[in-house]
Structure formats: C-alpha cells, structure tokens
Assembly symmetry: C2
Homo-oligomer: 349 residues x 2
C-alpha cells in the first residue's frame, strides 16, 4: 500500500438503485450501502480511478428510473447497481494518457465515494479552478451547456425579444434568464414558491416572475406579463404551462424544449390542447439534448467564465452534505424542494 493511498483497499459508500419506479420516486427507491474498492486502475486498463467530490441531481435522471424502453437517451439505471450521473471528481490513478493523478474532471461518474471510470474519453478535464468546483455540475457543466445550446442555438434570440422561462430558478433556468437579460431581452420566469420568485427578481435580475401554484389560469397570467406575446419560451416543465404558452405566442415564437419535469412522474402525461396555434403563429417547438453540443463547450467557458469572475452572472446552488443525503436530494428535485442547482457534496477535495 502506497503512502499516498493509491492501491489501498478502502470502504466505498454507494447509492444503489433498487428497482424501476412508477410515479414520483421515493427515497426508498434507493439505498446506501458500503462496499470496498481498491484505489488503483487494473493493470493494462485505460480506465481512471476517481474520488467523487460533487454529484449532480438532474431532472433527466427520472427517465433513467424507467425500464430501458422509455428511459431516454442514456439508458436505464441498473437495479442493484449504483446510480450514476454527472459529477466532479479528482483522479487518483489513471491508465489513460489524457489523465494523470491529481487532475480534476467532470462527466458521468457513479453515485459512490470512488469510481472506476472505464470510458474516460467522455470526461472533461477541469482547467479553471478559480471558480467553485461544484459549478462544473451546473453553470460550467451539463446544465450550462443546456442553457447555452437551448438559448443561443435553438432560440436564435434577438435583443428586445420577450422571453419566458419555466422552472426558472433551477440549474438551467437561472442561467437562461441571465443570458437573456445580458442580451437585452424582457425576461419573465415562473417557479413554485415565493422564495424562488424573489430569487428570480432580486438575484437573477428577471424583469418579472410569478409563482405558478398561485395562478389558477396560467394563460391569463402569461397574458398579463406578455400583453404583446412571447417570442421565446424556454420549456422546462411541459403540460399545462406549455398549453398556456401556446395561447400566448407571438408570430415566429420559438420554444426550446429542454425538459418537461411536470410530466415525468405521471403514469399518463397530460394532454396538450393548443397545438393548432403552432401553425397560426408559425411557431417552432424544438427538442434538444446538451451532449449533442459538447463540441461547443469551449465557447460556453469563454462566455461565462468572465461573467462569473466579474460578478455579472451569479449561480445559486442548493448543496446537501454527504453521499447519504443523495437519495433525498434527488427525490426532492421532483417535488421542487431545491432552491437553485441541486448538488450533493461527497467530499470537498
């Protein structure tokens, strides 16, 4: 056993996925166990062995709790195995020439203290550490790329346009709103609590924000905030909110379909009734997935790193401590319990 810990067999707490989920996920759909892991890469393997620091809770993970036929684009979790997802980690041992001990990376890793990553080519090496490392699960990671691709690539926004964002205080929404404000758009967000609405207006600089739970008529609420109609809708929730937006579109409205979290836990998704307006308004609804845009990651960094350093973009995280807190944090996402980007802190370095 080397003195620096490499090669040692240590205990490794893991969050295990019990079985496929119907309806809202519960904490008991996962359980925390403790295994052991040897802190070195097997001889001849090009894997990397990492210590996980921050784990990311993201809405797309709900789809992965379904059987593989409708799990979405990454594939289902495996019952009896650890959950995996985006995270920030430190390389402890590497069999891959791109990575060496001490490197910081972000990408798909296990929900456990240490992971052996067998396809490390998909990891991003972290080059900038003057910003919080946890940001690489958010503004500087997959959610950042989601906001960047969805807003700039899908919506082709123009100064002065009217932008509406649902789930606007979340990992992606808060960033889209700030991008839109920096571009000179009129920006309104919806969220599910007074605290979140306050955050949108006071911290992120949205022009207006409202609590959708207090609006009996969402179409009327949107009409109030957008008397001239919506040019861009950044769609994170689906269902009734989408239907209300369809009644409030300006001509050539663009809807970036990023997520539909309100639908993920329903056995039958709600019906959307106002799609004929897509024709009348010559509107576009376009779905997208961030990984398809990862080749533009350098552009994201170039855009947001200066803004972060200058304090022109702020990013709010909701951190829970310890891998044991993971199941509750992930489950809470689907109840809207998080305020800002939900992160699980496994270790700080």
């Amino acid at each position: 056993m080397a003195s620096d810990g490499v090669g040692a067999e240590v205990s490794n707490k893991q969050v295990i996925f019990r079985d496929y989920v119907t309806g809202f996920p519960k904490e008991s759909d996962m359980h925390v166990t403790s295994g052991t892991i040897r802190l070195e890469v097997p001889e001849g393997s090009n894997s990397v062995l990492v210590k996980n620091l921050y784990l990311s809770c993201d809405p797309y993970m709900r789809g992965r709790m379904n059987p593989s036929t409708d799990a979405g684009y990454i594939g289902s979790f495996t019952p009896g195995s650890p959950i995996n997802g985006y995270g920030v980690a430190k390389v402890l041992d590497s069999g891959h020439t791109n990575f060496k001990k001490g490197d910081l990376v972000w990408g798909i890793t296990g929900w456990e203290e240490y992971s052996l990553i067998t396809a490390p080519e998909a990891l991003f090496k972290i080059q900038h550490t003057d910003v919080p490392l946890s940001y690489y699960t958010g503004i500087l990671g997959m959610p950042g790329m989601t906001a960047y691709a969805g807003f700039y690539e899908i919506c082709s926004p123009k100064k002065g346009e009217n932008v509406f964002i649902s789930a606007a205080s979340g990992a992606v929404g808060q960033l889209v709103g700030q991008f839109a404000k920096l571009l000179g758009c009129y920006v309104v967000g919806s969220a599910g609590s007074k605290d979140k609405v306050d955050l949108l207006k006071e911290k992120f600089g949205f022009d207006e924000a409202f609590n959708y739970k207090e609006e009996p008529d969402l179409a009327a609420a949107l009409k109030r905030y957008f008397p001239g109609g919506i040019d861009i809708y950044f769609e994170n929730v689906g269902g009734k909110m989408l239907d209300a937006v369809l009644l409030n579109m300006r001509v050539h409205c663009r809807i970036a379909a990023c997520g539909m979290i309100s639908q993920y836990n329903l056995e039958k998704p709600e019906g959307v009734h106002n799609l004929t307006n897509v024709i009348l308004r010559q509107a576009r609804i376009e779905g997208f997935l961030a990984p398809n845009y990862y080749h533009k990651y350098p552009q994201l960094l170039e855009l947001v790193l200066p803004y972060i350093r200058e304090g022109k973009i702020t990013y709010v995280e909701d951190k829970t401590e310890g891998i044991e807190s993971g199941p509750a944090a992930l489950v809470g996402l689907f109840r809207g319990r998080n305020v800002g980007k939900q992160v699980v802190v496994v270790a700080r370095e």
Copy 2:
C-alpha cells in the same frame, strides 16, 4: 353597355356566410343568393373586376367561420356577406396598371360569379395556360406553395429519409408525397377510405398507404410501416395521429405542421400526450403558412411545370359544377368526402 359585356349590370350569384359556426359546418351555414353587379371598375379606382372561374375549398377556411378572436391568419368571414377564398378568375375590367382585360389571375376572390377586387396587388397573374387552369387552385396555387414550403423549406429532406404524410390524398398531401418520391424517400400516407388509399399507392406512387379509420392503434400502424422510425412527418390532421407519430420518431425528426383538420370542428381540441419525446428524439415541430413563402412562387413553377408536362407529377382534383354546389363542397371537406383537391367550377372561361 359595351358589346363585350363590360359595363353591363348582370346578375351575380353569391354564397353568403350566415353566421359563426360551432362544431362541424353545415351547408345551411351558407346560402346562395343572387344580386347584381356592374361589370366595370368604378371611375378612379385601381380595383379589378373579375369573372370567377374556379373556387378553392381549403381546410383553413374552417377557422374563418369562427369569431375573429380565433379565426387564424386571414380573419373571419363576415356574417351576411359572401365567403371569399382562393380562386382562379378572368379580368373583365381593370383600374390597375398590372392587369388588363383578359388576364387570368389566381388569388383571394369572392364566392360569387363576379367580384370587384379592391387590392389586386395580391393577385398572381397566370402565365402558363398549357396546364389545366383549375390547377392554380391547387398544385400551382396556395396548396402547391404549401407543399413546397412545408417539404423543402421546413423539413430539409434528404434522399432515403422516411416520410409520413397524413391526409395524404388531399390538395397538399398528394403533392408532398410525390415530391418525396422524386427525391428518393420512402413515403407512406394515411387517408380515410379505401379509394384514397388505392390512389396513394397506384396513382401517386407512395410506397405504402393505410386507412386510419381501420387502425385501432395508430402508433402500432406507424411502427409497422416505419420499423426504423419517421424522419419527416407532414402534419395535416393533428390530434391522435400526431400523438402516434411522436411515439415513432427517429432522432432529429422534423414535423411540418401544415394543418390539423381533425381538430378544427371540436369544441375542445384533443390532448396530445407524447410531447416529451420531442426532447428525447431532438425533434422539431414547426408551423408555417404558405403566404409567407409566396416570394418563392417562381421556384415552385420552375420545379413543377416540367414535371406536370412530362407526366412525372400527377394531380387529382375533385370538381363540383356550379357555384350552387359550393356550400356542399366546402362542408364535405371536413367530412373527408372529397377525393383529391376540392374545386368548385363556377365557369370554365
């Protein structure tokens, strides 16, 4: 009164719109009356006076039977006044420098034997008369532009792609299918009768076609015809068919939302439940209106006139004779009674 009829006051049969419509339109929502009209343009006016030859029955006209708040892009019909819509007409007198007596035109005209058109700038002058004149209500008119814009501009089709078209034997669908076949796509259409299905396969050269009324499970039907999924859906019907398509999309599927005729007569449109697949498949649903593409009309002519002359594109019309047959023809459109493009023949020259 001039010997050529110009200046004469003659009787003028008109199809009058009675009042706004709820549910399916009925023949009795219109009535035919006879007024009189002087066959000359008023002194100093830049109007044109036309004799209407062919009137076009188009699905978008249903929206114009609603009160103006949801009439769509042209505006409601006026209760007590003649219906108007696309048609082919001959100029009898002109106060506009662009037009002279004897010119043939297509564009918006009244459902009457003679019309005074006060904004003739919007009319298209017909230059090619070696093809049937009635085609300017169809393949060479608005429906032609609809097929052209929807397929080439909205869908960006590529050779070998899998194309599905609903209401495929209609004015637009039959043309989209032939465009797609000429490009080398695999093309399947749906329609509402055996006759129409036969037409699709035997006359228009679709690879496959099916009668949606005989398919208890539309998603299963599409799965059968598209085991690898749909690349392009040309949407003419909406509702359940759209929902079934959403379950059968390939990645980057494009849906050109041209019309949703199954929904126009419902008091509450059906719910569409499978929109989350738009995200997972990175799909795009885009609404469009042909008039926005009229600047490309020369390209349509350049494309289709040779095909028509060479017999490489065929166009099936369903003609009824006499303006008195107009209400039944228009109403029949929403019951699927027409086989091919529905045209009302008012006069042949």
